[in-house]
Symmetry: C2
Subunit: 323 residues, 2 copies
């Protein structure tokens, strides 16, 4: 039996999300003992230092100069894994994607950049490569406009940071080939992620829309002097946060409605729900609430310790899984 | 040194929330070895069976007939605690509150009931007793209308179920005596709860307003065919739930903005936030989305196992605390 073929993943754009995805792919491959080549294509001049410094803060790993024949190669050994993964830096797009099984894009969040990028990727990469954009807002329908074959592209939108957070919003355009969606889901299967295929392209996708709806009301309540920034955060970590880590909003209210379920919930307190909706805040960006809320947030938190946040988030995810 | 004076708490209305509060008080007293008398005032005919059946599902305890001279008394022994707490059922309001240090109301959620109740409680209870309503929507300003001394009353609104969820929204009216707020906070101090004083009475208080804002958008997205009920729930448990169990929404986006903090976050993606706000759903109760959403929820979950939910929620809260 021959060993399984190594997987080639090309990461275009290695900011927080790109490197976090690289960490995720590397840690999965290490866990299963399979072989992975991650190629990083990024134009920042300090990309090597950036990777060497950041990657080990995402996953416990040792990064060393590779003996490989490819240029700018590193070997990445995760924790006690026996397998060693390979990481390359390549600033030439053509050779960066020419062997790719997956091309994952996290470039600048503007439509021009992405629309111009994909025809080149399409030209240079193997015909079967999966093409994923991590965009949080630019739909595939826009990104694929200049492609020869728009059926190849879809959005795989993570919840930051992807090496911790299981959610992946899979957002095809109407033109995306269902087989591309299937193969994308197939890749994520058994990788301890939650890939969810959205049925329509929609502004901001789903996770951010839900979060921003709550954010808007939170800003409104601070602005109205009902609660401080810190109060609202403390309130969330002591109520809806832990609840929604265990059960989503529909399941939660379905349980809250007793024997009548969600219908019983609305029968009991639909009046209060509607009263809150009638009174909902409709603040907008740039309306003047910013100064006070930015100041309160800065005073409350200074610089957030994201390592502590990530450690705790892993523990929360484990707690839900284990019981 | 004489032992500390026992605390008398009278629970008016022993539905889910009333009994859950009783469980919370009893488990705290048991943990500290102090003595607590909980008096339950409820008119339901099966109140004794209800308590005997439900209380041990909230906290691991043994409930037995009391040798006390008070009628309908029970002894409640929590797990391995050495102390035994006392529970009484009393359907006469006057004697139910006459020795109370705290009267905690969870009666029917209508203003007439509550407004009529408090003058009686006020007349029969000791002058120093703390008067708390667990209402989720009827403000103290309304509830106190017929009281002689409206300065005594405030809302202590839990996030269900209170024996698990740390949040308590403390909502005074403008007439509430600051000393009553202080004594209420004093009671909850060292009891592993998160009591937050709201600065203004507002429709639905804060936690539910935030949750309902997200619920509205969730209903809208299901109605628009973007995602199913189950998809939205899975999305929440794999992203914002675990995140908000660890850090509230302002702290989260403050971290997400990197060195620029929350201000940096809005500089980077304020445009997307506003685009989502411009497109936000404004569904209302009774607008016809109910049938499909109730059906999807029922099909996805049937009857929710709240014991499993509560076990996992405790584990999540512990995970955040321990690290």
């Amino acid at each position: 039996m021959s060993p399984p073929k190594p997987i080639n993943i090309t990461i275009i754009g290695a900011g927080t999300i790109g490197l976090s995805f690289a960490a995720l792919h590397i840690s999965h491959a290490s866990r299963t003992g399979s072989t992975l080549y991650v190629t990083i294509h990024d134009t920042r001049p300090d990309i090597r230092e950036h990777i060497l410094k950041t990657l080990p803060t995402y996953i416990p790993c040792n990064v060393s100069k590779s003996s490989s024949d490819r240029p700018f190669g590193y070997e990445v050994k995760v924790d006690d894994s026996v397998s060693v993964q390979r990481l390359f830096i390549n600033d030439d797009l053509e050779s960066a994607v020419e062997d790719a099984d997956i091309v994952q894009e996290q470039g600048p969040e503007n439509a021009e950049f992405k629309t111009a990028l994909w025809p080149d990727v399409e030209k240079y990469c193997p015909p079967n490569a999966l093409l994923w954009s991590s965009t949080s807002g630019i739909p595939v329908s826009t990104q694929c406009l200049a492609m020869k074959d728009p059926s190849r592209l879809l959005v795989v939108h993570p919840y930051n940071p992807p090496h911790i957070m299981p959610l992946l919003e899979i957002v095809p355009s109407p033109a995306t080939d269902p087989k591309v969606i299937e193969r994308t889901l197939e890749y994520w299967k058994d990788k301890d992620r939650t890939p969810l295929v959205l049925r329509k392209e929609t502004t901001g996708f789903v996770a951010n829309r839900l979060a921003y709806a709550l954010l808007r009301e939170a800003i409104y309540l601070v602005q109205e002097g009902v609660a401080s920034v810190k109060d609202i955060d403390d309130l969330m970590t002591s109520s809806m946060g832990p609840r929604w880590a265990v059960a989503g909003i529909f399941k939660s209210y379905h349980a809250g409605g007793g024997a009548g379920g969600l219908e019983g919930f609305f029968k009991n307190i639909g009046g209060t729900v509607q009263a809150c909706w009638d009174d909902i805040g409709t603040v907008n960006v740039g309306q003047g609430w910013e100064e006070d809320i930015f100041r309160q947030t800065k005073e409350a938190y200074g610089v957030v310790d994201t390592k502590e946040r990530d450690r705790k988030t892993r523990a929360v995810l484990d707690a839900v899984k284990l019981l």
